[in-house]
């Protein structure tokens, strides 16, 4: 394996890993607050769930783009 190929593998792995860390923290905080919100006021569940999914879609977007690009690097650019 040449250095170039190895670096591409590392780049893909770092992309995938950091995207995972970021979205883990983000959705974790969001979910915790969501549960706190329902525990405090169960009657707001419907509204909170809609807002939760909207924000989750926003938080989710950048990491999922990272995942797509890293998979593209790992399987198509490197040619596994």
């Amino acid at each position: 394996m040449t250095l170039e190929t190895a670096l591409l593998y590392v780049a893909g792995a770092v992309l995938l890993g950091l995207a995972g860390v970021g979205v883990g923290v983000g959705v974790g905080v969001l979910g915790a607050r969501f549960l706190e919100g329902i525990a405090r006021q169960p009657e707001l569940l419907g509204m909170l769930r809609t807002q939760f999914f909207i924000i989750m879609g926003l938080v989710d977007a950048i990491p999922i783009i990272g995942v797509a690009i890293s998979l593209y690097i790992l399987f198509a650019v490197v040619g596994g």
Partner: protein, 286 residues
């Protein structure tokens, strides 16, 4: 299926290549036969498969909803009519919830965007080799069936929304109001000298937030669907690896498709909600 004599690398790249029509470097017009040729066509090339599928699904949406609207009665609704009523009510509630000004365009626009994006996203659930395989039997080399995995389609829609935002900002606030919104916020001052000093800073900040709207709107949709498509293609690679891997691939494809239904719905919904929110911001007077 289509991977008899292709390496995995070529298979993925084949699936990510659009059917491109444009001008060859030697001056003749025609279809690109390789990715290299498609790249050399430059800016004025057009993706025929994206255009075909997006327009076909748009027509399907219009036909279906028109059919339901013509059959609308005051009696007991059934089947399709129920479904369409439910969708329209859902959009209506959402628009009422997040749009405070009065504009007859916004709710129909939201309905169109939601259903259209949803239909285009749903093409992702069709197994990745079926339609391209059929197309290759008909002699078409490349076929990418999910229009929203092509950034051209998502940027096109986002620029449409951006144009409406600018249009309504100018219409509601007037050119002076729009300009002052861009230059007098978020830093404000009573002192005229400080006010002038703040103009470039404010313009820079507000300009970024204005331009980032269509970019993030389109890249979010594109990125999510592209990632989903990429994973479907990787799972489809397993079908070429014998019986055990094939069965595993089938299970994985089913599992990912079930999870992907959530993403499909969510992204269509977010695209619609953000469009309404941006248009609402354009209607706010300060």
């Amino acid at each position: 299926m289509a991977s008899e004599n292709l390496t995995p690398n070529e298979y993925i790249k084949h699936h990510l290549q659009n059917l491109t029509f444009g001008q060859h470097p030697d001056g003749s017009w025609g279809l690109a036969h390789t990715a290299q040729e498609a790249r050399e066509m430059g800016f004025w090339a057009i993706h025929l498969d994206t255009m075909f599928w997006s327009i076909a699904l748009g027509v399907l949406f219009l036909w279906l909803f028109r059919k339901a609207a013509k059959r609308a009665t005051s009696g007991r609704p059934s089947g399709l009519l129920n479904f369409v009523e439910w969708v329209v009510e859902f959009i209506d509630n959402n628009v009422r919830g997040s749009f405070s000004a009065k504009n007859n365009l916004v709710a129909p626009l939201a309905l169109t965007l939601f259903v259209w994006v949803l239909l285009m996203n749903t093409m992702d659930l069709v197994p990745v080799d079926w339609i391209p395989g059929l197309a290759s039997l008909l002699g078409i080399e490349y076929m990418k069936v999910v229009p929203t995995t092509d950034p051209n389609a998502t940027f096109g829609m986002a620029f449409g929304v951006f144009f409406l935002v600018i249009f309504y900002s100018l219409k509601v606030k007037g050119p002076i109001g729009f300009l002052s919104e861009l230059t007098m916020q978020p830093f404000e001052a009573k002192n005229p000298l400080l006010k002038v000093l703040f103009i470039p800073v404010n313009f820079f900040l507000e300009g970024i937030s204005l331009v980032s709207k269509p970019v993030s709107l389109s890249l979010r949709l594109f990125g999510n669907l592209f990632a989903g498509e990429m994973i479907f293609i990787l799972i489809a690679l397993l079908f070429g690896g014998g019986l055990v891997l094939g069965i595993m691939g089938g299970v994985l494809q089913w599992a990912w498709a079930v999870f992907h239904i959530l993403i499909i719905l969510l992204q269509a919904f977010i695209f619609m909600v953000l469009t309404v929110v941006y248009l609402d911001m354009a209607h706010q007077e300060h």
